[in-house]
Symmetry: C2
Subunit: 341 residues, 2 copies
Amino acid sequence: MSNEQVRMTLGEVRDYARATLTRVGLAPAHVEAVAETIVAGERDGCGAHGLYRLLVAAHSVATGVVVPDAVPVLEQRASGVVRVDGKGGFAQLAFETGRDALVAAARANGIAALAINNVVHFAALWPEIEALVERGLVALAVTPNHAWVAPAGGTQPVFGTNPIAFGWPREGAAPFVFDFATSAVARGEIELHRRAGKPVPDDWGHAPDGSDTTDAAAVLAGAMRTFGGHKGSALALMVELLAGPLIGDMTSAESIAWDAGRKGSPLGGELIIALDPAGFLGDAAAEQMARAETVFAAIEGQGARVSGSRRHALRPVSEREGVVVSRALLRDIDDVTKEKA
Amino acid sequence: MSNEQVRMTLGEVRDYARATLTRVGLAPAHVEAVAETIVAGERDGCGAHGLYRLLVAAHSVATGVVVPDAVPVLEQRASGVVRVDGKGGFAQLAFETGRDALVAAARANGIAALAINNVVHFAALWPEIEALVERGLVALAVTPNHAWVAPAGGTQPVFGTNPIAFGWPREGAAPFVFDFATSAVARGEIELHRRAGKPVPDDWGHAPDGSDTTDAAAVLAGAMRTFGGHKGSALALMVELLAGPLIGDMTSAESIAWDAGRKGSPLGGELIIALDPAGFLGDAAAEQMARAETVFAAIEGQGARVSGSRRHALRPVSEREGVVVSRALLRDIDDVTKEKA
């Protein structure tokens, strides 16, 4: 740890996040929900979803992209479909508003969906997946964002980075949880190359005129590629439809048009599907779910990794020893949020 | 069309498939269901899922891999979960047995699942997806098969080629339907390279000792790779769990162990999730689903392709002009199935 770094307990991270979010004008219920996501990011070693996000949140409030005191409204649309209208606030509180109804619907029917509408996204999907997995459910979540990614065979942006997240509960072990963009790389990765003046590999994206390029700025102005060629592109389109038109919410193209150059976080919807093992397996649920362990053992036994395990391994370390944070980041956050206060 | 090819109407394909399947000993209800899948394959230009599959079906019957007269049993496990026990028969009839109950459950709850257990897989998932999309539902299907594919970061087989299929209904246009393996390539593609004595690219798979190889036979004996690196690998694991332990059915490792070297089609389960737009959107369903057309237009307007469009474009041509079939294939089928008669 250098002089430019400081060690904070998770409690200190929480207090700092809450104080900052309160100072920028977020209503108390949003402060609580967003701060927990930030603590989870720092705790699990995902700096991009930790305290750094306070800058993003402050910007979203300052530019009017987010409604800071939105009160989400819950509605049961069908016995298996829960809807929460986030009223333009951050997604975290909307998810918390719908979570228990989703869990109840999944337990009653075996499978259920939560459609979250009209929310500002600014963090990963895995905290929401984990909240369901902790309750013994299998869960899948998708969301579009801003149109930055071209379909396979094209060069112009249509899709967002459209992440897919999935979680599977494990008895006595960290759950299997993945959460990845269907773009070839994270947009932030290209941004880091641009800031460092480094070229990007030629398969990350296209220049605005559609040509191949290794210029990070050209990719940011043009279009990113999907991962995995036409398969990744098909998945990106699936995400776009499931958490856009199917739930009556914005496509990635509509989200970026609505943003109108404010460089704010994406606005739109999110679809979460929860499956209750007991609804499929009845009394045999515990025994059958345990059979999945043979698959995990076959993966880990050859030295390969089960997604989510690295984050979970860090968790007790962070809880015991705290996390290391850049002093420069804290200064930036203090500067930006004091300006806005 | 050479002398080695013959043009058949779709009616002739159907009659030929039915006669052959009857001759090898399949019960009438299975003959009907399997023949329709074969007609759909030929009609849509997917030769690998057309008449060629009669050889596979005959082999599965002859080796005792499939129960030729299995009577699938339907059970409503929860209000949103339909289960069909295929009793060891081909998957097609099991799907047909559960289809209407799945559609009804999706319409009643907004979302529902069909767990198909204990069936022999030998065709693509898209015919099942299309049967749901034709009824106005959005559908997702997954199935494991035989353990042939290594996880990212490993070199030993754990997953099957574990396909994911998805469908989205479009008013007045061919539906968006994809159906792809989460392996880097289809196993049949590697088999074709082996037969032709051609090397495969070095990122298709691993030799049995875990080394990289361009030898197709070594990949077939060793392990294939997933598509899209760790992301594709995470999806393959998701498929393995959803249509394996979650529905109380075989993993890909269990399926290949059960096969015991017979080189039969995989036995196991399939999970299909159906979502009813009306359950999410109520009266606004038609209007909101139509908004998806802006996404399709943005893709097709730049010359990129929406999955499924090529198959659908071929359909009226095949219905009008019939399809071209290899005489050698028909001779092979006749030879093999006469032996078994």
